[in-house]
């Protein structure tokens, strides 16, 4: 019914992009130069997504498609016997992605009316046209990615997002309201984001090439993620499939800013705060998580790939959290926390995937599940990762928009110039507190459920045994616990520094307009309650039944296409179990301790933070402030390596290639010059040469005849 019109979901925003992009300036100030149209379009996309999801899960309409995927496509073009299709592919993961992406985008765009429309300057106001057009295209990228039906189509939308992130991070790369320094900063941040993600994209493209080759020229989800095809391709050439998985994950590392390509995301804070919220919550970095979740069947083929995913995730979670500990910029703290939380998602997906991959065996005929209990436990990791992605989308959008509200009112991003804002901006303060509690994993808030599920899955992997791989997972679990502690600490450090204590700034406009605070309130409800979907969740939502849809032990779960069989229900036990294990209470205690510590250090000020870092002079403090010298490393690498390579190439170009061409031409010119001296214009010279030549030839002929009796 409505399902057939799923293609409208990404199409509506791209129409808005076109209309606002071309006609926005004619729409006038009243409509925020097209802002209203974009919000309307986004809301329409959201409603459509909601209807599609409801129909997919059987709440409205005739059929219940769940848990099979609904796929439709048209032929795009045909080359030889290869046909490229373009279509949409709706399963529970796609539903999930487009639901939260469009919903959060609606909130962010509404908020943007207040945030971007708050200038008195006519010129800055007119830039809303460009802003709203670009965010609409950005959303197109994300929604298109969610509903794509082939990997190539997915890649197209993936690149659209890359382009939009470049445009929006560099939104203020000229005529920055705060001066040219900021504008330069924005320009270089945009370049960095673009170039760093490009490195990942090259990997992803390489991965797609290999898959294209290994999968006999197919990139459709229905073919690539089919159990039999995967098994056949893997048995034919296991190394190739592993390489393809790793390359695809390389793309994810770039897009989701994981170790070691993590450095562009903090710099991306140079864009408008609403763009940061969009990048961190609804689009861009979530695309990486989505791709791993989407390509899960592929990654499952080799446990080592999953191990890589988990290790990268765990390491990023830890490192990013440490960098958030001492940053004074309110947006950068949030940026690092995004990196850290994304790390959790990959840790969860990787750990769960490792469990599942060890529980199956891949043979030429298909994939056989050998250990259902282990497989089910691994599926929990998949769910926990996806759940954390959704929860994170809500609370991170909320946190960024709150910080935007604070920045809007104070005109600074430095937390040292804030403080005591609770009285001046009560709505922002309360909603941000909810966001902080949620991300810190305070019991019963959204972040609590997903984060503890993640840690639970990782714990499952070593379960007290410490040898070889288990050792790695034990370390990752430990890192995860420490990260949970740090997360609670730096988030509350942020909140206490901003909203408690004395006001240290110059001026504060007070609470933001309603167009900004109302989205905050709506988002805060979700940031609090999104976790309960697990507890009271009905079976169709992204709960465990989806991932655990296992046929009688001989086919893989339902996120693989073509795994026919009955649904294997995983009950809500994992959530209830959460409260039965000591691990959960360890995390809760750690979180509480961190919050109290932050309170004592930054609100009560009974503990001086300077004691721990020698007032900012300790080596560790400086290392962290310099982001572990990552920007330095990038610079050194690009200077030493890139610049030297470029110089070498330039040398070759100038000296060898240009040299050959120039040498040839100057040899001709010089030779001509030299020879032209013979043309002195004197009749006698010419005559002498002619006669001399004749004599010479005559002598030669004579000699030849005399000596050899003939010329030939």
């Amino acid at each position: 019914m409505i399902m057939q019109y799923s293609w409208l979901i990404p199409l509506i925003p791209v129409l808005c992009f076109t209309i606002v992009g071309f006609l926005g300036s004619k729409m006038g100030k009243k409509t925020h130069y097209g802002g209203y149209l974009v919000i309307l379009g986004t809301a329409a996309s959201f409603i459509l997504s909601l209807l599609v999801t409801l129909e997919y899960t059987g709440f409205i309409g005739a059929g219940n498609y769940y848990p099979d995927a609904y796929e439709e496509h048209i032929d795009w073009f045909t080359v030889g016997n290869f046909t490229l299709t373009f279509g949409f592919y709706i399963d529970i993961l796609a539903c999930l992605m487009m639901l939260f992406a469009s919903f959060i985008s609606t909130m962010i765009f509404t908020y943007s009316l207040g945030y971007m429309g708050g200038y008195e300057d006519e010129y800055q106001l007119k830039r809303q046209r460009r802003y709203f057009a670009e965010v609409a295209l950005f959303l197109t990228g994300m929604l298109g990615l969610a509903v794509s039906s082939t990997l190539l189509e997915m890649f197209i939308f993936w690149e659209i997002m890359g382009l939009c992130s470049y445009l929006l991070i560099g939104f203020w790369s000229f005529n920055h309201p705060e001066g040219d320094d900021k504008a330069d900063n924005a320009a270089s941040a945009a370049k960095k984001a673009f170039l760093v993600t490009r490195m990942g994209d090259v990997c992803l493209m390489g991965g797609l090439f290999i898959l294209f080759f290994a999968m006999n020229g197919h990139l459709e989800y229905t073919y690539v993620f089919n159990v039999d095809n995967l098994a056949a391709a893997y048995s034919a050439n296991p190394g190739l499939m592993t390489l393809a998985s790793l390359l695809v994950f390389g793309g994810v590392i770039g897009k989701s800013a994981q170790f070691p390509l993590l450095d562009w995301l903090p710099d991306a804070m140079a864009g408008p705060t609403t763009v940061s919220a969009l990048i961190h919550a609804a689009t861009m970095v979530k695309a990486g998580v989505y791709l791993v979740a989407r390509a899960y069947p592929l990654f499952l083929l080799d446990p080592n790939v999953m191990l890589v995913v988990a290790v990268i995730g765990g390491v990023t979670a830890f490192f990013a959290a440490t960098m958030a500990m001492n940053n004074m910029n309110i947006k950068k703290v949030l940026a690092y926390s995004t990196l850290s939380q994304l790390g959790y998602m990959f840790l969860s997906l990787g750990a769960g995937g490792y469990l599942m991959a060890s529980a199956i065996s891949v043979e030429g005929g298909g994939i056989v599940i050998e250990n259902i209990a282990e497989f089910t436990a691994g599926a929990l990791g998949y769910s926990a990762g996806c759940l954390h992605m959704v929860n994170h989308a809500f609370f991170k959008a909320l946190l960024f928009l709150c910080s935007g509200s604070v920045i809007h009112a104070n005109g600074t991003e430095d937390m040292r110039l804030m403080g005591g804002l609770h009285k001046k901006m009560p709505k922002t303060s309360i909603t941000m507190l909810i966001g902080c509690l949620s991300i810190a994993g305070f019991p019963f808030f959204a972040g609590f459920f997903s984060k503890d599920l993640v840690l639970d899955v990782v714990f499952e992997l070593f379960e007290g045994n410490i040898n070889n791989t288990e050792l790695i997972f034990a370390l990752l679990w430990f890192l995860g616990i420490v990260t949970a502690f740090m997360t609670a600490f730096y988030m509350f450090r942020l909140w206490f520094m901003t909203f408690m204590g004395e006001y240290r700034g110059h001026h504060c406009h007070g609470e933001s307009p309603a167009s900004m605070t109302v989205p905050l309130m709506i988002l805060s409800i979700f940031a609090f309650a999104a976790g309960f979907i697990v507890v009271f969740g009905w079976e169709h939502v992204f709960t465990f039944s989806q991932v655990g849809a296992v046929a009688n032990g001989d086919a893989i779960s339902y996120f693989l296409v073509g795994g026919a069989g009955k649904v294997f229900e995983i009950s809500l036990d994992p959530v209830l179990e959460l409260f039965k294990t000591w691990k959960t209470y360890v995390t809760i205690v750690l979180v509480l301790v961190a919050i109290i510590l932050a309170y004592l250090m930054y609100a009560k000020k009974t503990i001086n933070p300077g004691r721990f870092n020698k007032n900012g002079k300790s080596a560790l403090y400086r290392t962290i402030s310099n982001r572990y010298y990552f920007p330095e490393l990038y610079n050194q690498l690009s200077w030493k390596l890139g610049y030297d390579v470029a110089r070498g190439v330039e040398f070759f170009d100038r000296q060898v290639i240009d040299g050959t061409v120039n040498g040839l031409s100057s040899a001709v010119v010089g030779g001509g010059d030299l020879m032209s001296k013979a043309q002195d214009g004197n009749l006698h010279t010419y005559a002498s040469v002619v006669v001399g030549g004749i004599v010479f030839l005559f002598v030669i002929v004579l000699v030849l005849f005399g000596q050899f009796g003939g010329l030939f």
């Binding site: 043309q679 214009g681 004197n682 006698h684 002498s688 006669v691």
Partner: protein, 100 residues
Amino acid sequence: MIPIEYYLTFAAILFAIGAYGVMAKPNTLIVLMCTELMLNAANINFVAFSAFTGDVYGQVMVIMTISVAAAEVAVGIAILLNAYKVRKSTNADDLTSMRW
């Protein structure tokens, strides 16, 4: 009968004188006359061979050469006259503008 070597030697000497004149004489009129000498040296060879072999082709060739030489002299004298009008000189060393 005078042996053919005499004719050939005479023609060779005549040709060498002509060549020397072309190469060494500054006056272009003399150069022109020397080219005539060289042509006629060739003509003598033709006639000599014609007489000694007893066929008429050599003499036909000589008639051709003489008519072409006449035309050549006409053109040559005309060029020299014009050169003299422009340069007020027929000295070969003065007429060197066709050079690099």
